[in-house]
Amino acid sequence: MTSGLAALSAAAIRARVAQREVSAEEVVRAHLDRIAALDPQLDAFLALGPERALERARRLDSALSSGEPAPALAGVPIAVKDILHVSGFTTTCGSRLLADYRPHFEAEAVTRLEAAGAIVLGKTNMDEFAMGSSTEHSAFKTTRNPWQRDRVPGGSSGGSAAAVAARMVPLALGTDTGGSIRQPAALCGISGLKPTWGRASRSGIVAFASSLDQVGPLARSALDLAVAAAVLCGHDPRDATSSPRPVPDFALTLARGAEGVRLGVPRRFVAEGVESETLARFDEALRSLQAAGATIVDVELPHLGHAIAAYYLVATAEASSNLARFDGVRYGARTEDARDLSRLYGETRGQGFGPEVKRRILLGTFALSSGYYDAYYLRAQKVRTLIRRDFEQAFATCDAIATPTTPAPAFRLGEKTDDPLQMYLADIFTVPANLAGLPALSLPCGLASGLPVGLQLVGRPFDEETLLRAGAGFQKATSHHELAPPV
């Protein structure tokens, strides 16, 4: 059951707060109440900050009372994946090793959203260090899919997706290295955007695989994603990889909808291994988009079959390097009784990391090791070039590529934890955008066996605008994004 303020979109909340029809404090209280009622069943949150949130809400209310203009996200409650630093909160990354870690600075993405009037209610659960597709690799709790509680919410941003789907917040931040925004968005029936690599600052976000990582919003409509993305994107001097390209006011461009957008469908690639009901929802979505003015063309992306292999070599290699910093010396937990420094490193990491993180560190270390570097890591980086070229050729005849976001709806808790390769293979549609550095959007496109599935659109570099406007057109013509889970 959803009612009242917690059912509203981010844009609707902002409009009411700006009109002073409702105070930011009332909005925050309504969402905190809903979290208190629902989160014990769903376990989306790792930490809540009600006092911090109410204090910020009251400060915003008094600023609005004194006549200050309402910013773009005035009074919008948000949830933040526990890999981004937020002032006043620990950053655990879902890991025992960082259970008590308190950052010294805040993520630029969070600072930007809060400067625009958004209010952080809490930090959400995730697969440890963002490594996983189910949020089952969190060291702390198991988040449940609000549609069926014996199913995974997807991952690694599973807590953020579950929180938005269950109307505990209208907007959340996630990160996406191989699909970690889009896949949980799809499995929880909400919308999620991974911007172009370099489009938004990653300062204050714990790094997993630096050439693939990106931060982005999860929400219940393309419009809310557009409002959040316009705030998030843009250059930050603290992240040298963030682009100085100008950022459009995405929300203003949505009115054109899907009209005239050419969508490329890699039919042969999609036909392989997609569960039949998911494929049926995908084909219906394409017909809705056509009816809304888009045209569909066939495209070939011949190297996509190699994407998973390239992804798991590059991502793990970069992770093995990025996670070398967790050594039990400067921060994080430490194994107390190690006899010497070398054992201190090994035992701290051996006891602090969970099995999926260890598996990936080992794989990445292997891919970078002497004698194997050329055959695995370097070759995988070359395959990324082949995949990027496939997309460039496809974009000669289309404006975005459409595929299902995942081959099937949410699987059962525990179903894939014993078979890492099976878990990896389900990332087939999401990893290509990360490998090629492209923006990608997932939109809910209906139910398969009572569970949500997603439509994915992948765009040209820095062309989030086309994806969002096609998404808004799709959501104007359909009502899949308005379906709420039975919680």
């Binding site: 100085p244 400067r330 201190l344 292997f366 070759r379 995988a380 082949l386």
Partner: protein, 95 residues
């Protein structure tokens, strides 16, 4: 020929500074060998004249080289499991 065995996983684990239990050693050797064998599909591609991917870097322009306050020493130390006299403290370095 398998590349990852229970013997060679010890070398990889040592490089990664990761101590493994006997069970983990057996399990990871088996799982990683399966993953690597599967990833060998990449070997069939001709990548002879293909450069590794370079994504558009953010800002090529150099910034001004102006001195700034770094992280104060007490903050740098306040998350450390052990510190003394303004320094990180670790166990003996030689085995």
């Amino acid at each position: 020929m398998p590349r990852i065995t229970e013997d060679s996983i010890d070398t990889v684990a040592r490089l990664a500074r990761l101590s493994l239990s006997p069970d983990e050693r057996t399990r990871f050797a088996r799982e990683l060998e399966a993953i690597v064998a599967w990833a060998d599909s990449l070997q069939a591609l001709d990548t002879e004249d293909v450069p590794p991917l370079r994504l558009e870097a953010g800002s090529d322009a150099l910034r001004e080289d102006t001195p700034r306050q770094g992280l104060p020493r007490e903050q740098a130390l306040d998350q450390a499991p052990d510190h003394a006299e303004g320094l990180f403290r670790v166990p003996r370095i030689l085995p």
